[in-house]
Structure formats: structure tokens, C-alpha cells
């Protein structure tokens, strides 16, 4: 098995997508050959070239305005007419994480990737929606609040390794919603303060 792990986060490092990809790599093991690609740094020609001879692509990205981040969308749009001609045996998997608590809010973005597969004549494998993606660094994957994420990555990595298709599924962290909300609000206020922005100015109207 040769697998492309496509990081669709525009952040250069420390993104939830990167953490999820690292967790996935651990589960894919050493018997599978996989390589990473960053959608922000990849153009159409490079992407098409890298799909030669591979079995699967796992697209991991953050939810942006209920959908696919524009730079990743651009890449998929640019390759849709060619990728299926280069390699029509490819199976596509996707893992979307969002800032909201509910993983189900990623379902529309997963549908878009499924529509991409139809458009590009590629096989759809499975999608995973991860709620509270911002918590991904709160604990090692598989432990404490990230226990569900560990179990979900176990499940989808097994399907990727077997080239299996399965229903999309969605998870939340092992952490209460009300505490996640309080923590997130505290985090935004602290980050704003670090930039010299007072609490009331976060609400500025222009």
C-alpha cells in the first residue's frame, strides 16, 4: 500500500490536522509506505505526479466556513479532470476537524469531498468528522480527552490499510461541552491580550 497524506491546513505547523496526521501515521505502521503533502505548497502538476502508483489519498483538513479551505478547494478543483485519468484505482478518505464541539458539523465538507470523487471518477472510502479539533494537542491521541480520537483513527486506519469503504462517522472529545466552551472563550481572550487587544475590543464594530 502506498498512501498520500494530504494536509489541508494552511498553517505551517502545530495545526490540528498535523496532529491527526501524526496519529494516523502511527497507526498505518511500517508495512505501509506513506508520504506527506501540504496542499498550501503543492500545485496541480506536483499533485498529479505524486498520485502515480499510489493506492489511497487521505485528505485531512480543518473546516472553514462549513466547507473546504479555499487553497485546498483550489487544488482539488484544478486536478479533478486529470486525477482520475492518471490513476482511477485511487480510494479517497477524508478527516475533517472543526472548532465547534460537534463532529457532525463536518458532514457537509465530507459531502463535498464525496462530490469531488464523483466529479473526478475516484472511489470514496470513508470520512471522519472530528469535533473540537482545537483540543487535539490537549493530550496524546488515545488518552484522556483524546480517547475517542484514538479509537476513531484506529477504525479509519484499518479501513485505509484494507482499501475498505465504510460509512462516515463523527466524534466529540471525551470532555464536557460546557467546559470546552469556557476553555475556548478563555483561550481567545488570552490570545487577544497577548496581541495587546483588550477584552472589550474583541467585540469592535467597524
Amino acid at each position: 500500500m502506498k498512501i498520500m497524506l494530504l494536509n489541508g491546513s494552511p498553517k505551517s505547523n502545530n495545526s490540528a490536522s498535523e496532529i491527526i496526521i501524526n496519529g494516523l501515521c502511527q497507526r498505518l505502521g511500517t508495512t505501509n509506505e506513506y508520504f506527506l503533502l501540504n496542499a498550501m505548497k503543492t500545485n496541480k502538476a506536483e499533485f498529479i505526479e505524486k498520485t502515480n502508483g499510489i493506492n489511497a489519498i487521505v485528505i485531512v483538513f480543518p473546516l472553514y466556513v462549513d466547507g473546504i479551505p479555499s487553497h485546498l478547494l483550489r487544488l482539488l478543483y484544478d486536478v479533478k479532470n486529470e486525477i482520475g485519468c492518471t490513476n482511477n484505482q485511487l480510494i479517497i478518505y477524508a478527516i475533517v476537524n472543526n472548532g465547534f464541539y460537534e463532529g457532525t458539523q463536518n458532514s457537509i465538507a465530507l459531502e463535498m469531498i464525496q462530490n469531488f470523487c464523483v466529479s473526478a471518477n475516484l472511489k470514496w472510502g470513508q470520512g471522519l468528522g472530528v469535533g473540537a479539533g482545537g483540543m487535539s494537542s490537549a493530550a496524546p491521541i488515545g488518552q484522556g480527552p483524546m480517547k475517542n480520537l484514538g479509537l476513531a483513527l484506529d477504525k479509519i486506519s484499518a479501513n485505509i490499510k484494507n482499501s475498505a469503504t465504510d460509512d462516515n462517522f463523527f466524534i466529540e472529545p471525551n470532555f464536557p461541552k460546557f467546559l470546552y466552551k469556557i476553555s475556548a472563550h478563555f483561550g481567545w481572550r488570552r490570545q487577544a491580550k497577548n496581541n495587546g487587544i483588550k477584552h472589550r475590543d474583541i467585540y469592535s464594530k467597524r
Partner: protein, 165 residues
């Protein structure tokens, strides 16, 4: 200034929209993508920090009556250049959360919000893409704090823009 904003991803020389009526943003590949910095929430609240002619878009939204989006339907959503503008407009809302029917969504920065009119075009729009688009626009409306929106599908950009003439 015209209080109807038009975002369009295709320029058709044969159709010139009335500049008195519409403030037209032609979106092409020069629109830079969001970089996920959240500067529009924690550095320059309400405004995108990427410096180009689109950085003010989120600050215009509360001051217009209507936003018309003329976009190719791509995988059941906005086309890449239009999506880039939307990704860079989250300063229009706040980073803080609120509950809507048991789901987490964003709090609103502004009391006033425009009507959003989506005009999707494409020569081979599938039923699946239409259904995805309807769900997407409903989800967007919840996050934008409005129920004033419409969604229509056209065979071409010409057909959509012709309707605005």
C-alpha cells in the same frame, strides 16, 4: 455607494451590471487564501490582516442591504475564489460560541446583517451537489445569524448575471 454587493467569479464582457445599483467584486486568482491565523479575531478584530483589496470585505458586510453571490457550483459549494473571500470574512462574526438548537455556533459581532442571495451556476449540476449546496447555505446562514437568504441554480454564469441586469 450602492448597497447591494455582488461577488462574481466570472467576468462577462457582454453583461455590465449597473454600477449605481451594484457594488461589484470580481473575484479572480489574485484573492489570497486565508492562512488560519485568526488575526481577524485577535489582532485586528473584525478585519482580515492579509493586506490586499479584499481585506475590508468583512467590514463592508454589515453596511450593505444585500449580498449576491454569483459562483460556479463546485462540489456542492462555492468556487475557490469566492470561498477565499468567505474564509477571510469570519471577522464578521465573533470567536465566541453560542448554542443554536443544541449545536455550537458563533456569536454575532453586528446587529445588522444583509440578505444573502446565492446564484450557483454550472452546466452539469447533479442532484447531490444541489443538496449539498442547500445544506451548506443553511449552515452558513446559522453561523451568520440570519434566516434571510435564497439559493438558486443556473445553467451558466450568463443566465445568472442576466437576471441581475
Amino acid at each position: 455607494m450602492a448597497d447591494i454587493l455582488v461577488l462574481q467569479d466570472t467576468n462577462l464582457n457582454s453583461i455590465n451590471l449597473d454600477k449605481e445599483k451594484y457594488n461589484v467584486f470580481l473575484l479572480n486568482d489574485t484573492v489570497k487564501p486565508c492562512v488560519g491565523c485568526f488575526g481577524c479575531w485577535i489582532k485586528t478584530p473584525g478585519k482580515c490582516v492579509i493586506k490586499d483589496k479584499y481585506s475590508d470585505f468583512a467590514t463592508i458586510l454589515p453596511h450593505v442591504r444585500e449580498v449576491i453571490i454569483v459562483s460556479e457550483l463546485v462540489f456542492g459549494g462555492l468556487s475557490p475564489n469566492v470561498k477565499a473571500i468567505f474564509d477571510r470574512s469570519i471577522g464578521f462574526i465573533l470567536p465566541f460560541f453560542r448554542d443554536v438548537d443544541g449545536e455550537m455556533h458563533h456569536q454575532q459581532r453586528y446587529k445588522d446583517r444583509p440578505v444573502f442571495k446565492y446564484m450557483f451556476y454550472g452546466s452539469k449540476i447533479s442532484l447531490s451537489e444541489k443538496n449539498t449546496a442547500k445544506k451548506l447555505i443553511k449552515a452558513n446562514a446559522i453561523n451568520l445569524g440570519t434566516d434571510k437568504y435564497s439559493i438558486n441554480f443556473y445553467n451558466s454564469a450568463f443566465d445568472a448575471l442576466e437576471e441581475l441586469k
